[in-house]
Amino acid sequence: VNVLAPLVVAVPLLTAALIAAVGRFVGGRLADVLALAATLACAGLLVAVLARLHGRIEPVWLGGWHPRDGVAIGVSFTLDPLGVGLALFIAALMVLTLIYGSGSLDPEPPHVHVLALVFLAGMVGFCLSGDLFNMFVFFELMSVSAFALTGIDIDEGAALEGSLNFAVTNTIGSFLAVIGIALVYARTGALNIAQAGHVLDHGPVDGLVVVALAFLVCGFLVKAAIVPFHLWLADAYAVAPAAICIVLAGAMSELGVLGVVRVVFGVFGGPVAEHADAVRAVFVVAGLVTAVLGAVMAYAQDHLKRMLAFVTIAHVGLFLTGVAMLSVAGIGAIAVYVVADGCGKAALFACVGIVQRRLGHVRMSALRGRGRELRFTGAAFTLAALIAAGLPLTGAFLGKALLDDALTHGVGAWAVVVAIGATALLGATLLRAAGCVFLGWRSSAPEGDYDPLTEPQPTTPIRMWAPTAILLAAAIAAGIVPGVRHAAHVAATQATAHTATEHVALGNAASPTTHGALTAPPTHDWLLSLLTAALAIGLAAFMLGREGLPRLTALRAIHSGRLGDYVAVLCAGAAIFGGAFALALQ
């Protein structure tokens, strides 16, 4: 493991440099092959690292700077099953992105490949890093390449605008994180997560600790797009190329959630555990508000990609409620949910990409009934919509059911009711879109003439539909493959083991092994899930029976697309979170 872990980041970075250097001479096809090979190599290395980890935690000290007497003096990757597993998921999504995008993204000169590989290296490095400042550096690396990838269609005005909003708000988020890191260093003299956590365990919980926690959490929540930091995401994902959206929606937002996990279980594990109930309340409220607002805004969208962007926001809100439980059950539930739901959402974006290619449009009102001939795409979109609603026998069902159980035990049944309401509304919104576009059922606008924005193509190439099918298969498999609950349990146990991780990461003890699995969802979860799906179908039928979209003037006004407004809301949100944490850790 020791030898392979740094290669996971080095291989994509070096290949990116190689393509940047020689790409313009060798042509786009070879760049396609090189980028795909590097991403596959990265995924293969991660499989090897994960296999040799045996469900333990293992620090890798870069450059041989091992801790002396339990004090970290070097920079480390702290490998744990959750981080390595998420990194592997990201690399797999990137493979599909590159296959899906080959040909549709302009390969000459091959800037997309360079950016995609740097993006991959940043995301993977972020997952593995055991050092706060390196987390920030990898965070910036992935952010900057994501800004450029989002705005890669520079001929599109909206793409530029979305990319600018994305770039400025996320950069401010990184500053919040780096201020938090600086304050942690000021208190603990450490940048290593385990070392800083160890010092904070034994120190007082005063104003400095609260402010540092608030800055760090807000920094990562901007990336996770939790309300009120979510405004940029709807703009960015609506304009990014569909191929890029596969990895953006499938994985990038979730990295913000991973950052929060590292902060609340690693660095601030001690202080947070002392005030667990209050911290839980802050995150649960934020997560549920995000889920509900995301679902309502998705319902109000006509633009399919913007609709999916709000679906992404809503789901990240649900993931945050899982983190909020501060328990093995909560983290285990979202470990399953993130993978299954990430695949499902990526499949939705992939379907919209196919619709855009075949019909030249992404607005529901313009597309009504025009997708009748796209039977495969329509079926895939409908299936993915049902997965988003938590259809039984899929991974999303398993994740959602485990999350519901964790929520019931953590805060009570009311949270489950809200979560089910949001999920049903999301499923209904997506089913309405499927009914409107692929079946021509009534919604939003009358069937009429339309001008394609881009020239419609007569066929769907295999490079587009095969990744879509693979994503759907993976979303379903995550629910029925044996061993998923065991793997999630191991990952969650290690990720939440605050004190044990400190000892292992600082070389004071060997990593404990873990056994057992998350308990299977009980029968009432199956009933609840069927109820949710039925509710989604019923709501979709109700929506299809009405003309037009809801107005929601006030809510739409907040999502104004204006950069200044977004930054003002972000600052207000950071102040609110800061106040909430000050009260919670009093």
């Binding site: 520079i154 605008e161 600018l164 780096v178 999502h559 200044g564 930054v567």
Partner: protein, 114 residues
Amino acid sequence: VTVLAYGVAGWLFLVGLAGIVRSRNLIGVVICVSVVQSSTYVLLLAIGYRSGAKAPILADIKGGTPVVDPVVQALTLTDVVVEATVAAVLLALAVQAHKRFGTLDPDAMGELRG
């Protein structure tokens, strides 16, 4: 000195954010982003400052002489590099936006709504 440095860091942070919110020009936004980031440089350096200590170039000074914390200086340098990258990407987007919209006013673009 240190209290003043923290005050400066806080001021730069807030005034930079206010600038981003109020700016009617994308180049102004990029400069304000740099101002906000400068606050992190000042904060990091203030954290590592020790009154009366020397610069941490250990080859030139006697052993045992107090030095300021070299770690935060390395972090600041990294931060500067990150900032340069972000500024380059933002400026490139601003140039493209000017080509596309004929203006640098972020509020005049407005293709994304609701």
